[in-house]
């Protein structure tokens, strides 16, 4: 398949943005999943429900609204974006980093759900056994809980990466459609369909998009099987 340099750029950028979004969202997603499954919310019982709803917001709210909310928060005069720019010189709107942030927010619920599922598979009895063998909280999280929930974390990461390749609404709203900066695959496809004679480009890019998505789904499945064999859950 012959791709123009611009088209290659869109593919590379998509991969970069998706990867950065997963890197950004993975650790917070694991933390939130832990809180949702294991947190006690003793002083504020509705906290679990509220946190759960907040995490799932990007799944139900139009992506454009998420992009707009990010623009409000992280814009150059937003409550977070302002200080970031003034104190650290970091600008998120209309940048690759901004596209990664928007993608991370959109795919966050996907990771949390997968990690949660992985965590619910962890037998608390094994953690109790680790305690009786002398393992303190951090020790047993790192040596027992984390390895046992690894299939969920990996599945979440791969799914989020696949979904991140195709994020459109939040990215175009928050980061705009700048070739080489924020023009990822779906944005490039959209641009192609809007330009006269762009059908061939759109078809090529759509083909790549489809191939990548299918390959990633296959990879996720393979990883999941391998992990379950390793953990003796077959």
């Amino acid at each position: 398949m012959d791709l123009s340099p611009e088209e290659w750029q869109a593919v590379r950028l998509s991969l970069e943005v998706a990867l950065r979004s997963v890197a950004l969202g993975l650790v917070p997603a694991v933390a939130v999943a832990l809180l949702l499954v294991r947190g006690r919310f003793r002083f504020f019982p509705p906290g679990r429900f509220l946190l759960d709803a907040l995490v799932h917001l990007p799944l139900v709210v139009p992506p454009v609204v998420i992009g707009w909310a990010l623009l409000m928060l992280f814009g150059l005069r937003g409550p977070i974006g302002g200080p970031l720019h003034d104190w650290f010189g970091i600008r998120l709107v209309f940048t690759t980093e901004g596209a990664a942030l928007a993608t991370a927010v959109m795919s966050f619920p996907l990771i949390v759900r997968a990690v949660r599922l992985g965590l619910e598979h962890v037998d608390p009895g094994l953690e109790a056994a680790a305690r009786t063998l002398g393992a303190g909280p951090l020790d047993r999280f790192l040596t027992i809980t984390l390895p046992l929930m690894a299939p969920g974390i990996l599945a979440g990461a791969v799914t989020a990466f696949a979904a991140g390749l195709g994020e459109f609404g939040a990215v175009i709203t928050f980061a705009s459609n700048i070739p080489g900066e924020t023009q990822t695959l779906p944005l490039a496809i959209y641009t192609a369909t809007q330009s006269p004679g762009g059908e061939a480009v759109a078809a090529r890019l759509a083909g790549i998009s489809l191939t990548l998505a299918l390959a990633l789904l296959l990879l996720a499945e393979l990883i999941a099987r391998r992990m379950h064999v390793l953990l003796g859950r077959v």
């Binding site: 037998d123 009895g125 094994l126 109790a128 056994a129 680790a130 305690r131 009786t132 063998l133 002398g134 393992a135 303190g136 020790d139 047993r140 040596t143 027992i144 390895p147 046992l148 390793l230 953990l231 003796g232 859950r233 077959v234």
Partner: protein, 362 residues
């Protein structure tokens, strides 16, 4: 020595437990009772996995738990090795890594058997490179025993370690438990509802029912008490500590405190110490020395007590033979007919083929 006193209630008007007992320096103390009597809960409280409403657990003078003074060491600081009913091996680690998990986390000065010693003791050397998923139930439980022992505990807690296994697997693991008991030189608290495990392993017995301690004492002593629920079981009877004295014509001669018995059983080397449960319903008495009888064991005895049994028609006779006590279950009719009464000298009859030999070497 372990001292345990606790009170715990599930829910507002749920089941409550109120227990108070001690576990001596070394040897196996069995917490015995029917399912749901609270014995596993007590074990969890000692291990620190459950916090009771009120409780005090003191091990060799160190307070592990004292709810009144607000002391509650977490399980990871108690150094109580626990063997659970399901082995709870870590599925992502090899057998060797499972065994070393507690060992690596034991205090550097803690004493205990070496890795190779434990591996030999439990016969798990061929399993070291495997994952738990590739082990049989019996193998898993043996690895779990090793893992607990290698964490260099001050106390071993076993929560029905054989209950999840089928009979052949139980028979496979039981001798290893006996070997571990003899090698560990640790106090062991052993929760079970299986009397044959008590007979095979336990030195002392804490008898539980609906969350209360009914009695505590040596296995031999409690086995002959007719006022306990043990007496209502079909296999109620005395437990005798014996030594193999010889084997003749396929019959094993066993010495016990008070005499000698002849039994049909699996051949064990001379000098082997083991326990026999002599069921009360297998013991008959005669007021005169019988002759021309196939019964091999005819022992001179004295009736020390007659007490009611569970059935309305029968009674228990307590028979003193030397320093040992046997139980015999006979009908009320026989008591009247033969004029049986405490103080009377009788002959206790025991067929050589009736023995349940379940005890491992002791």
């Amino acid at each position: 020595m372990l001292r345990v006193a606790l009170r715990h209630r599930y829910g507002r008007d749920g089941f409550s437990i109120e227990a108070d007992f001690t576990v001596p320096e070394a040897g196996v103390t069995a917490l015995f009772g029917p399912s749901g009597c609270g014995k596993s809960t007590i074990l969890s409280i000692v291990a620190g996995l459950l916090r009771p409403d009120f409780g005090r657990v003191v091990l060799d003078g160190d307070v592990l738990l004292d709810t009144e003074r607000g002391i509650a060491l977490p399980p990871e600081a108690r150094r109580c090795g626990v063997v659970f009913q399901e082995a709870r091996l870590f599925p992502h680690l090899s057998v060797a890594s499972n065994l070393r998990y507690g060992m690596k986390r034991a205090p550097p000065r803690a004493e205990g058997p070496e890795f190779e010693e434990v591996v030999d003791l439990l016969g798990i050397a061929p399993l070291l490179a495997r994952r738990p998923a590739a082990l049989s139930g019996g193998e898993r439980q043996r690895v779990a025993l090793g893992r607990a022992l290698l964490s260099r505990p001050r106390l071993l807690l076993m929560d029905e370690p054989l209950a999840a296994l089928d009979a052949p697997r139980r028979a496979e693991v039981l001798p290893f438990l006996a070997r571990l008991r003899d090698a560990a030189r640790l106090p062991i608290l052993y929760v079970t509802h299986a009397l044959e495990e008590v007979d095979a392993l336990a030195d002392r017995l804490v008898l539980l029912q609906t969350g209360r301690v009914l009695a505590e004492g040596s296995v031999e002593e409690l086995a002959t008490r007719t006022d306990l629920p043990l007496a209502a079981r079909r296999d109620a009877g005395a437990v005798l500590a014996c030594t193999v004295a010889g084997i003749e014509d396929g019959l094993t001669r066993l010495d016990f405190a008070g005499g000698t018995l002849v039994a049909v059983m699996r051949a064990e080397p001379v000098g082997t110490r083991l326990r026999l449960r002599i069921r009360a319903r297998d013991v008959a008495v005669a007021t005169e020395e019988p002759r021309g009888l196939s019964t091999r064991n005819i022992l001179a005895a004295e009736i020390t007590a007659i007490s009611p049994a569970s059935g309305p028609q029968d009674v228990f006779l307590q028979l003193a033979i030397g320093d040992s006590t046997l139980l015999a279950r006979v009908t009320q009719d026989s008591v009247t007919r033969l004029g049986l009464r405490p103080g009377l000298r009788v002959w206790a009859l025991l067929k050589a083929v009736t023995f349940d030999h379940l005890g491992g070497p002791r």
